[in-house]
Amino acid sequence: MTSTDGGRTARLLRLYPAAYRQAHGDEIAAIHAEATAGAGPVGRLREDADVAAHALRVRLRVTSTDPAGRLLAAAAPYAVAGSAAWAALAVVRIAAESRGGWGGAAVPLLDPARLLLLIAGAATAVAAVCAAAGRWRSGRALFLAGAVALLVHHLAALDLYVNGALRVPAVVAVALVVLGCPPDLPPTGRRDRAATAAVATAMFVPGAAMYAGVPGLPGADRGWWALVVLAAALFAVLRQEGAAARFRAAGVLVAVALHLGRVAAEAYAYDLAVVAAVLCGAAALAAVTVRRFRTRTGAAAEDRAVRR
């Protein structure tokens, strides 16, 4: 290791809290030195960025050993699914409006604001497809690209419908949840991928049908349908026992909060918060009831087996 490399490693280690650096600095430096020996500039940069990110996680207490890190890992699939469904609905709406669909006059697609929304929406929707297919790193990169496009849109005050500035915190919050998911706990397991696909599809398909005015369905859902889907997801995870299930349930609640943040600028945001509280409360109550019933019938079956 050259003295330049040593200085670089020492600078990276300074990013860790002092106590952590004292306990683990030598070992991290040794692994980093071996990993960067003979690596090109890009390889070194990636290793440096990874150590810097880990140091930041340690400082913010969001590593995979911290409860907050595990919560972010649990929330990420639902956050991606919720954002993707919302974004896909926006894409469908913009595409339909550009053709004069759904009762309005045709709106030019080449409007810069619409194009930016279209790009952001498409990137976010494809990100969910990647996540559901187990390609979390590609999905996360696309998701963050979509979030940046959406931020540019809102910050440039190009928003088509409401005051864009009120939507900025919601975009930042959802991006932080996805970015905060610890890299050694990617949501690529079967359950996480199934949750991403199921929640995104269950939000998008009926949502699009309602927007399109399919007979027998209510009109545009104004955000409540997503809450129904998330409450169903909460019921599904709370039916299971154990710490992992509790983290997943907390992850669903984070997604509910993110959804409410997304509609915070709308006039009906307060009503939606009430709907969310009622639906989530009912889902939790139903799940607890089902679990108790299962425990009781399981115990009764065991008693019968013992008597025989």
């Binding site: 040794a30 990874d50 880990h54 995979s64 890299p183 050694d184």
Partner: protein
């Protein structure tokens, strides 16, 4: 102990330690080899995963030594880690066997399409 399937980084890391204890960079190289170059664990990610697995009791610090003036720790599977890895290997083996059995049942029809 959890019965959920292991996530890939965890599975690869435990597999890298299955035959003998290894230190940090040796684990990186083993994970690279086991995954056929598909998964490259970088320093911060590896260290985060090692800490988590130590906390979960799946691996433990096997030895500490000073090499070139730096502390080097090697890690080994614990009994719990070995049990979890064996259960995961059995689960994967059963899935693979079932996939092979079903593929063997597939008979192409005369037009070349699959029955």
């Amino acid at each position: 102990m959890t019965e959920r399937p292991l996530q890939e980084p965890t599975l690869l890391l435990l597999t890298a330690l299955a035959d003998r204890p290894r230190h940090g960079y040796a684990i990186v190289q083993e994970v690279d080899a086991i995954s056929g170059g598909r998964v490259r664990m970088r320093t911060g990610t590896l260290y985060g995963a090692l800490e988590r697995l130590v906390q979960q009791g799946l691996i433990e610090v096997h030895r500490e030594e000073v090499v070139d003036g730096r502390l080097r720790r090697s890690y080994a599977l614990t009994c719990d880690g070995r049990t979890v890895l064996a259960a995961e290997a059995e689960r994967l083996r059963a899935t693979a066997a079932e996939a092979e059995r079903r593929l063997a049942l597939l008979v192409p029809n005369p037009k070349g399409a699959l029955a």
